[in-house]
Each structure stands twice: as C-alpha cells, then as structure tokens.
C-alpha cells in the first residue's frame, strides 16, 4: 500500500504498524516523537497499537532545542 511520510509517498507493506514505520524510517527516540496521522495527533498510549491504512499521511514531530540558554540553572 502507499502512504505519505513527511510529505513523501512511500510504498510499504499492507498492515504496517506505526512502530514498524519508526524502525523503517530510523526515527530517533520514538518515545519522545509526536506522530500525526491525517492531521490528527496519535495519543502516546495508542502508538503501540496503531496500524497504518492505505493513503495515511504520517508526520513525525521532533523535539528541537537550540538557540541560547533561557532557564539554565
């Protein structure tokens, strides 16, 4: 089946689990990545059981720091 990952079309196996996509896409620290599917956030407790569907639009949103200290104590 075809899905969209970060804006790019990908051919993946039918019934691919979200956790399997983490591995395929080499997602770093997936437990701290927010996932949206078809513009809806996947609640963290549902990540484990989420199975992808044909045409799903998947986005990975990563924590990014950077810049300068604001509260370093």
């Amino acid at each position: 089946m075809q899905i969209i990952v970060a804006g790019n079309k990908k051919e993946v196996q039918d019934g691919l689990k979200l956790t399997e996509l983490f591995v395929q896409e080499e997602v770093e620290t997936p437990e701290y990545v927010t996932v949206s599917i078809n513009e809806e956030f996947v609640p963290s407790e549902r990540v484990k059981d989420t199975v992808l569907q044909e045409g799903d639009n998947v986005e990975f949103l990563y924590f990014m720091g950077g810049g300068s200290n604001g509260t370093d104590r």
Partner: protein, 270 residues
C-alpha cells in the same frame, strides 16, 4: 509622528512595498518585540528586527559570550568574549540602527519573572535552547494571550511555528511535556551547523514582522521544518482544534506556570 527624511531613506526598500508603505513602517517603529535568548536564533532574529526598524526590542539572557558561541551567535564578536550577552547584543543593535530602543534583561526566564517580562511586548521570540524554557514561554504566552514564535535547531535541522492567541495550536498541543533531561540531544552534545540559526532565526523575525504588519499567512497551525542535508523545507499541518490541550484547551489543567528543570532533575518527569 511622520517619518524623518533619514527614515524615509533608511527604510525606502520597505516603504516601496505595497504591503508595508510608510504606514507599515510606522507600525514597525511603534512595535515592541521581546527576544528571549541572545544566541543562535536570537542573534539573527534581533538583528533583522533592528535593521527593519522595530522600535523597541527587549533582549533577555543571563549568559556571557563564550568562544564556542561565536560560530553561530552573530550578534556577538570576538571582542565581546566574557561580556554579558545582553550588553553585547545591545551594542550591536545600537550600532546598526539608532531608531531602536533596546531594553536588556540579564536574567533567565522563570515562572516568577516571565509574565512581567512579556507584558509590555507585542510579540515574543523564543530563541532559547532548552525545553523547560520553551514550555515556560509557551504557557506564559498562552496565559497572557501573547503571540510568539517557537523555534528549535539541532545538527542540520530546524523547526518553527507561530502561536497566535485564539488561532490554532500551541507548543504544548504538539509536545505535552518536556522530555527528561538528556533524553533528546542538545546542540552542545549533538552540534548544530552555524547557518541554521541564521535560517530559522531570520524566519522568526519574518513571522514577527508579518504579524506586526498584518500581512500574509503566519505559521499558525503549521510546524515548518527545514532539513539542510536534503535542502528541503516541509510545512506540517497541525490539528486545528486541540480541545484537550492542558494549557490552551477548553478545560486547561495547567493554570500556573511551571519551572520544569528541578522536577526533571529530581524525578525524571515523563
């Protein structure tokens, strides 16, 4: 007050734009923007705001200029080593544009001071490097109904989004809680390509300027990501309504500001 001859000349490339004009330039001169963190993001952001004639710029940072900052924090120079970043930043801005009044706050933002810091400003730029600060700025801006630009940079990647009160999701809608300390890499551990601050910090300045002018589309409801290795920008559409967000949702459970750092250190907050 009418623009002076010098101002007409200085801002001529703005004034000729139909979206700006003399009227828009006056809006910029009357505007107040607070930049929190005078580092990789805050340097270009503050400098473009200053050059654009944003009349009042606040700079908040408690640090001093360190040699390892200079690869990306372009508001500071070699002669500024050891100087307070806010002082160095103010000197650079003063040298760039005498139209700008610079207020400096040599302090880290905390739950105690942030509401007072942001209250007089029209727009806030988050140029901080750590998650306790990012969540604090988000929550304070949501509570005080202030628009702000979030950004982050790491390695060859960057991201930003804009929060406008009542319009679209806040930072906490995406990321519910800060990650435990050291769970995700920081610039110090992982590195960052210097020009990334220039790309993303300039985009933050662009968001502030567009907000002040009331021109075009802002990154509200979107997270813009940039990958320098692939040389690709990607605009991620975010859910429009997040009724269950702990701070900006319909029934907020976070009603007081949180200083996360201690909690992360003591009990490894998830």
């Amino acid at each position: 007050m009418a623009l002076t001859d010098d101002q007409m000349e200085r801002y001529s490339r703005h004034i000729i734009l139909k979206e700006v004009g003399a009227k828009g330039q006056k809006k910029l001169l009357d505007a107040k923007v607070l930049v929190i963190g005078a580092g990789g993001l805050g340097s270009p952001a503050a400098m473009y705001l200053a050059a654009a004639g944003v009349g009042t710029i606040g700079i908040a940072d408690a640090d001093e200029v360190d040699l390892s900052n200079l690869q990306r924090q372009i508001i500071h120079g070699t002669a500024d080593l050891g100087k307070a970043k806010v002082k160095s930043a103010k000197e650079t801005i003063n040298a760039m544009n005498p139209d700008v009044t610079v207020h400096t706050y040599r302090q880290f933002v905390t739950s105690e001071n942030i509401l007072e810091l942001i209250q007089d400003y029209d727009f806030i730029i988050d140029g901080t490097d750590n998650f306790p600060a990012k969540f604090l700025i988000n929550d304070a801006c949501v509570m005080a109904k202030k628009p702000f630009s979030h950004a982050g940079i790491i390695r060859f990647k960057g991201q930003l989004m804009t929060y406008v009160p009542g319009e679209g999701p806040c930072y906490r809608c995406i990321f519910k809680n800060p990650p435990p300390k050291d769970a995700v890499p920081t610039c110090k551990q992982a590195g960052v390509i210097g020009a990334m601050g220039g790309v993303i910090g300039s985009l933050q300045a662009m968001e502030a300027i567009k907000y002040i002018l009331g021109v075009g589309k802002l990154l509200t409801g979107y997270l813009l990501t940039y990958d320098a290795i692939e040389q690709e920008f990607h605009k991620v559409k975010l859910p429009s309504h997040t009724e269950n967000c702990a701070v900006c949702g319909d029934h907020p459970t976070i009603t007081e500001l949180i200083d996360y750092e201690q909690e992360v250190c003591t009990d490894g907050l998830k």
